[in-house]
Symmetry: C2
Amino acid sequence: RSRVTAFANQKGGVGKTTTAVNLAAALAERGKRVLLIDLDPQANASSGLGMERTPGASLYGALLEDGTPAQDKVRHTAIRNLDIIPSEIDLAGAEVDLARKELYLHSLKFLLEPFLEKSRYDHVFLDCPPSLGILTMNALTAAHALIVPSQCEYLALEGLSVITRLVRQLRAGNANPGLELEGIVMTMFDGRTKLAMQVVEEVRKHFGCRVFDTLIPRNIRVSEAPSFGKPVVTYDRSSAGAEAYRALAREYLRRRKAA
Amino acid sequence: RSRVTAFANQKGGVGKTTTAVNLAAALAERGKRVLLIDLDPQANASSGLGMERTPGASLYGALLEDGTPAQDKVRHTAIRNLDIIPSEIDLAGAEVDLARKELYLHSLKFLLEPFLEKSRYDHVFLDCPPSLGILTMNALTAAHALIVPSQCEYLALEGLSVITRLVRQLRAGNANPGLELEGIVMTMFDGRTKLAMQVVEEVRKHFGCRVFDTLIPRNIRVSEAPSFGKPVVTYDRSSAGAEAYRALAREYLRRRKAA
Ligand SMILES: Nc1ncnc2c1ncn2[C@@H]1O[C@H](COP(=O)(O)OP(=O)(O)OP(=O)(O)O)[C@@H](O)[C@H]1O
Ligand SMILES: Nc1ncnc2c1ncn2[C@@H]1O[C@H](COP(=O)(O)OP(=O)(O)OP(=O)(O)O)[C@@H](O)[C@H]1O
Ligand SMILES: [Mg+2]
Ligand SMILES: [Mg+2]
């Protein structure tokens, strides 16, 4: 019933959080019920949706099997149909603590299974930190699909083959045989530069139709929005950034229907 | 003799690698002998200096005490006075492997001590991955100083207090009592946006003279350079990016002399 999608890319600053938050908000606007789980200790998705940092608000204890069900950590945001499980800095400690457990890559999957059986969410989004460490690996093991945001930059291009190879390994190795690459979203596209066009062409050459047609332009309103605790789709509805994320939501739903 | 400086910030994509590579190259141009150690499994500093990915080239084995001295991993780059110890994807495995050892935060410090005693480098730079995981913590434990590159963006501002608090904890907790915050470098500054000016003012208000005066402008030549395996200071010597990194090198040396 609920489709779980991870937003992951070990390259930093490519727009993982911005894409997870704004795609979630744009789907919520269209009446989809969405839960965003912030798995990044930086808690950017939480502050980007106006959540105050509250100690104990994250899944930290639940992941280490303190008995808390995931449901207890769910909070409403200011946006109808969009809920969140926030992050906190303690989540950084989860990586070392989880590494010492058996089956440490399945902690999130086992925690979410009872929750998803009763859940009324259409979509559960997982925002990941910029690494392929234990939190991201837990997200990729628990997810049905993966969206890889990527900047239109050369260094971001180099990292794409790493995460897509990992998806193949997770499927082949039986950790998550059903994991699908939903698609690659090109972000912070600046049409005035040759480099951006070259990178987009290169990515489309390698990954073909697994690259979303919608390009997210570099748009200052997108980077202003988090300081107001809002996604750009509500902070400045008519901005190029908001328009692009709404177009991405439409394309995402079209692709889902055709799947 | 050799001053060890870590380039760290858990926020992704803020210019850690770009600053480490270009400050190293600008200092090498002025006759300083510099070694850059790439501790990020993404290996962006390695490819940014033209190194091919070679399995076994990183400090992975040495960190896990296979007996290899750090010296054996040093390679020359195309730039006089600038050497590198490259990274490789296996380094990602080091985090989980190290977590299971005793004193896992001191592995790099113990590995570098015999190397630094005989070393003829003026500066050893450590490029860190975007996290506060075990590789970054090893760098902060082994370093004499820390440079924190930060974008002129709201989300990057939020993370600054996390890394500066960590420095205070490492000093107080005796893991590295001598660790100094060398400074914060503001990168990808776009003077046409109000947000960039506001973020720079905010950072200067909080951190005062620990913020380098030199602002690194957003400059397309900077992001083109890595695709040619060169730092911008050699790829396009007269670009705004190259000028800014040379100015940063001059300011860095002035501050060191005054220290
Ligand atoms: N389309 C855009 N236009 C302008 N700025 C953007 C855009 N998308 C993201 N940004 C800004 O770029 C920076 C990086 O984006 P974001 O934090 O979403 O990336 P991330 O991949 O989640 O980073 P991290 O690796 O640290 O988790 C942020 O400051 C964000 O506000
Ligand atoms: N001054 C600049 N002007 C334009 N682009 C820049 C500038 N500095 C860095 N970039 C580009 O921005 C992106 C992020 O920079 P970089 O990779 O150095 O950051 P990082 O902090 O090392 O990232 P990570 O967190 O993934 O290690 C890269 O594509 C780089 O080429
Ligand atoms: Mg993020
Ligand atoms: Mg880097």
